[in-house]
Amino acid sequence: MITGNIITDFSLLILFLPLAAFTINIIVGKRLPRQGDWVSIGAILITLVLSLSMLLNMFMNWDSDFSHEAKFTWIDLGAFKIELGFWVDNITIVMLVVVSLISSMTHIFSLEYLKGDVRYSRYYAYLGLFTFSMNGIVLANNLISLYVFWELVGVSSYLLIAHWFEKPSAAAAGKKAFLTNRVGDIGFFIGIMLMFTAIGSFNFQEVFSGVSQGLIGGSLLTLAGVGLFMGAVGKSSQFPLHIWLPDAMEGPTPVSALMHAATMVAAGVYLTVRLFPLFSSDALLIIAYVGGFTAFFAASIAITQNDIKKVLAYSTVSQLGYMILAVGVGNYIAAFFHLLTHAMFKACLFYGSGSVIHAMHHSLHELDDHKTDPQDMRNMGGFKSKMPITYWTMTIATLAISGVPFFSGFLSKDAILAGSLGFAQHYPQHFLLPVFGFGAAAITAFYMFRLIFMTFHGESKMPKVFKRIHESPRVMTFPLMLLSGLSIFIFYTLPYFNPLSDHGWFTELILAGDSVVPGNPTAHEIGEGVHHAHYTAMALSLLVAGLGIGLSYLMYIKKKLSAEAWAKKMGFMYKLSFNKYYFDENYDRFLYQPFLKLSRAVAYVDWDLYDKYFINGFGRITKWLSFLTGRIDYDGLDQSIVDGLGRSVQGFGKQLKQVQTGRLQNYMLFALVGVIIILVIQTI
């Protein structure tokens, strides 16, 4: 078509159609009928079709080594050359499908959720912008365009989180998300530049070959790797930059589903998956610990939260930690697998919570109650009977996230846990990693089922509100059903039907590549380790899942154990967890305030000292100089010299005119004197 290669053509369309939708909606959106939502939906559905056809193509070819690169030269200055383009392989295709699918679901879900919103067309425009940016990250073949789209995704996130910017908390949340991302991006950029300085190219393939040739090695490589990883820390909300994701829940729920569950935060994982070959073993160790710790720590916060979206937010942070952990221990394909399954069930969970919140909103609105929080789970209860579709779809997704067999989550989580266990078996000093992993699994099962039990089971504590709860319309339940369906194991194990084994199209088509860092274990060695620990991991994971679900059931259904009593007994721990370990407060006290103080001090030096004295001093000196010059010119030159000349002539004339006395005798005298003088001169 355009470029002659159908893969490149499709990639171009997939990339730029959402951008076209963005442009149209931003410029003329408000004037179009229905405010232009059909433009965005049309664009995203076409994108979805194109991505699915690429997926189909992948299935038909069944080539695990498939890769396609299309590039063009952007800047060529001889020694300095930057080429941009696309890199399409099986991972890319799967990721494109994920992005397009979840984005389409978000577009459809928002039809009802944001009906009558004050900035409807702009919202859809921004969704288009985000899809464009995310696809840009997925298709990038070099670090520079990746970075550009990375930033664009950050911008879209900011715009969408702060969609209802009249609410100060929403505006602040958007700002926080963007700035925290930027902190991570500093490290990211340093990493990119280190790579470029050592290897001379931004292109992935050239970077990999450069690393394998040893152009960059040792601690510098680790540093670069950690730098690149910092981008993922920021984008995927890992410790210590996890603070923005819970606050990002201020945005509309479909946005939370799209960006903060399935795609944008997954970009960090995608980055580490793409760049896995160049991480040194030290960098990978750091990655593993960051991921593992985040998984455990975020889960420990989720158990005390009462806002339904906050629970899901911390759950996302925790699951992302899982993925990062998997990359760190070397099993990065498991991380990608989990990314895929997590996208499906987490988006489903978010949509479900959106459905619940939507119902709560309507009910409270009818009751004219503006004080009750529609997102607080303590105000819910027993919704199972009123919202059956939402209930069943969310339950399926929860089963998936808890790692229960027959569901997709079990397969991917199992792979990750097996990877961590295998790693620990190989390096027994890193026993913490599987501890983090399995611990987080237990806690995840616990709090996810807590969410389900508190929302849908039991008795409602607000009967009046409960009476008016009703199921959501089709446009909202359709994504729920689709995604919950995709949370079942079978879609990932085709053409095999074993629910306990992850063997399927995924594991056959998407194979791990070797690390190009000399001295790192090969994919084969890693795979061996995983395989070794597989059955132990499976047993352990089933155990911990059961523990978590069981505890939750006892506490919230059977009420055999009291949550309040436990909270009181572990008062200090409860408080820590409930207040998110006081991270935001400490950051503010030890980072933000001192930095603001420094800024103020610098501003003081600049404004009150430098400007006032130095700059103004210059001004004053100049003014004084010009005044002086003026004086010299006016009084000195003009008055003294110019006027003086005139005055002296005048004075001279005045003196001279005294000669004209009018007296004859004086004239005679002068004549006489003149004669004398002439005579004297003549004689002499």
Partner: protein
């Protein structure tokens, strides 16, 4: 004897001339002028210019001096006494005059005059008359014209405006 008389006459002339220019009283100046004229006449006699000497006495003393005295009388305010200074710029004047005098004297003494022999003269009157009518007729007529003009002019000038 002649030298002595000569110097007396010279002294009279110069002394009177000095008085003329020095006196504060105008009438005294006029009288001094008289004596000066007479002295000059004496000098003319010494120079064997008999006719001119007589003309000098008649015209100068008898005519001009009388005129001057008339002028003094007519133009003096008898009632008011306002003779503050009778002379001005005396200092510079003296210097300038002395300078001129010095220069002239220097010229007189340094020029090699060709002195011709003393020739006793007959009466000069006849020769003057003869010269007037023959060689110097034009100046004679011009002089008479001039006198006419002066006459008319003086008369016109001193007329009262009607």
């Amino acid at each position: 004897m002649a030298d002595f008389t000569f110097w007396i006459v010279v002294g009279l002339t110069l002394g009177s001339a000095f008085m003329v220019v020095q006196s504060k009283n105008l009438l005294y100046s006029a009288y001094a002028l008289l004596f000066s004229f007479i002295g000059v006449t004496g000098l003319y006699v010494f120079l064997w210019a008999d006719f001119i000497a007589v003309v000098q006495v008649v015209v100068y003393v008898g005519g001009i001096l009388i005129l001057i005295i008339f002028g003094i009388m007519l133009t003096n305010k008898i009632t008011s006494v306002n003779i503050s200074h009778t002379s001005v710029q005396k200092g510079i004047g003296t210097l300038a005059v002395l300078g001129i005098a010095t220069l002239l004297a220097y010229m007189v003494f340094s020029t090699p005059w060709i002195e011709l022999a003393n020739v006793e003269q007959e009466e000069t009157t006849a020769s003057i008359g003869r010269l007037l009518m023959m060689d110097y007729l034009l100046p004679f007529e011009a002089a008479s014209l001039l006198l006419l003009g002066a006459l008319i002019g003086a008369t016109t000038l001193s007329r009262k405006e009607d």
